[in-house]
Symmetry: C2
Subunit: 340 residues, 2 copies
């Protein structure tokens, strides 16, 4: 239960692309904050960040600085989460973790608030925030899957540089300038040049040739939808876009899904902004999804190759709904359900 | 039959992105040219272009300048082809047309030389060069389809600016610089900014919501493969890349296609360069396909969602194999078959 004075909130990984966005979103949404601690590696300690009108110091994460928190929002990578979140929850905090560390653990809810908020009820201290591509896809497909279950998804993604962090976004801009000047593009964060180029997602590949990013889409979607048999294949691709992901989704149902019914469902769906102007050939675009809360969904079509399938297209801000916003919405849902 | 002194060749649309590439490829491949006429709209007449060591004037296309040609390679758009190619072939020339004007006419062969060179035998003067996305896809899939027929393809494309011409490539570069300078990007050729953005292909949409580019993939592939029942759905997307297209292809066969057999077929396939280094996460990329003749194919995987399907990834130079090179290879195939 939130006391009158609000919650004692920590942000772990406060200086990163997602951490700074969490900070901005907490202020924007007037999240009930009594005390806010910005935590990061000792390297980042001593910096300051603004929270509304207040300027706050960044502190090194430690047993001391984790003490007495009600809520910790973590986005500092899997190994940092594994090290510090068990300590934070022992001290009584609830942790919402943006890393992949705990997502597939059976006793950890993996939650998209528009899809499976009721899964929060069984939490044991840690709640996992899904991967960006999964969040965007599940927000768009849940309103359809609820009515007529999905049999199989063939996904192709168009993923922005932000998924690899703030340094990767700067690298994309630097590379673009290099190429425009006729110089070879510098690569440091990414293995290959991304400006005016693209490449299959550079996460580790498994024995079947699927990269981690693709398997996150497969396994996390099954867990969030409580659909362990759902068939899903994906091709994840990095494209020279700064901070919004796009996805082309071919979605096959067990029976035909009337187009108008699907359109109605999506137009009414929570977290979805339906964007279609067929006259102007105007559909979701990453530049327009940037900085927006909803997932932009459109270009809904009956698949001409398969009577039971629909095609759709979406774009969503990778840092907001793909990460920071979803984490804050999980906290809001915990409060609304009396779990925090 | 080619005379000792070679052929009298015209290039219609000689000053465009594809026209200048045809000129370069004819020189590179020592195409048997006795006389070369560079033809374009009156607006472009008077310019000069280099052909090997020779500098040639660009002439306005007219009944006069079309007279006495053996071969005309046209890449000036559908309406220009419809106006001038009938006149050229009445004068005895064979026309290879890069526009969409004649592609779906039943008496016009639509040819990818690695796939269906025998279709050239029935030509009646005009031969159509397929659309870029179709050429790249058919080169990659024919070696598989020949052994075990394809049932259905789900395609997602990542298409470069060059598909909209040389001005579009410049616009992408100008927009990137605008954005890096913090200025709003100028749009003239494309309806929306392409730099650091992407959007569904901006060709006209049909009643089913498929754009022209997507229907070209569907209809042209069926014609080239002589597979009128082939199921194909596509999502065509423009991405901020200069001149090579990429495609993510989910390919379902009527029966399982053993992965090693598919890999062997692709490694031996004409027009394909198989590019895979799983250790380095290194697969085809548009920057590396740029300026290359073969279609780079790789990331071949068994689809984990469907036992009869494979996933593969390709990149190909849109101006070369996607247009100019394929047209010149058609001419070479005509010569090799004694048809020219």
């Amino acid at each position: 239960m939130v006391l009158a004075q609000g919650l004692r909130v920590g942000i772990l990984g406060a200086t990163g692309a997602v951490g700074t966005e969490i900070l901005a979103i907490l202020a924007e949404r007037s999240f009930p904050v009594a005390e806010l601690r910005l935590l990061a590696s000792p390297r980042s300690a001593g910096q300051t960040l603004s929270f509304g009108e207040t300027v706050l110091p960044v502190q090194a994460v430690s047993e001391e600085t984790l003490k007495g928190l009600d809520l910790i929002l973590a986005s500092a990578g899997a190994s940092v989460s594994r090290q510090w979140l068990p300590i934070a929850i022992q001290g009584g905090a609830i942790a919402i973790d943006n890393s992949s560390a705990y997502r597939m653990e059976p006793n950890v809810p993996l939650v998209v608030p528009e899809v499976n908020p009721e899964d929060l009820k069984t939490h044991q201290g840690i709640i996992a925030n899904p991967n960006c591509t999964t969040i965007l896809m599940t927000v768009a497909l849940w309103p359809l899957h609820q009515v007529r279950p999905i049999r199989r998804i063939v996904a192709a993604t168009y993923q922005s540089a932000s998924g690899a962090g703030a340094k990767a976004m700067q690298e994309l801009k630097d590379q673009a300038l290099d190429i425009l000047k006729g110089q070879p593009p510098r690569t440091e964060v990414f293995p290959y040049p991304l400006a005016f180029n693209l490449f299959p997602h550079n996460s580790p590949l498994n024995d079947q040739g699927y990269c981690q990013e693709e398997m996150k889409m497969v396994n996390e979607t099954r867990k969030i939808f409580h659909a362990p048999e759902l068939r899903l294949t994906a091709t994840c691709v990095r494209v020279p876009v700064l901070r919004a992901h796009s996805e082309a989704l071919n979605v096959e149902f067990f029976e035909p899904f009337p187009l108008q019914e699907a359109r109605d469902r999506l137009q009414q769906a929570a977290g979805v902004q339906f964007v279609e102007d067929w006259q102007r050939n105007y559909f979701p675009m990453p530049l327009e999804a940037t900085g927006k809360d909803p997932v932009l969904v459109g270009r809904l079509r009956q698949d001409i190759s398969e009577p039971n399938a629909l095609e759709l297209w979406l774009c969503g801000d990778q840092i907001r709904k793909g990460a920071a916003l979803n984490a804050v919405q999980i906290a809001e849902s915990l409060i609304a359900q009396g779990l925090l």
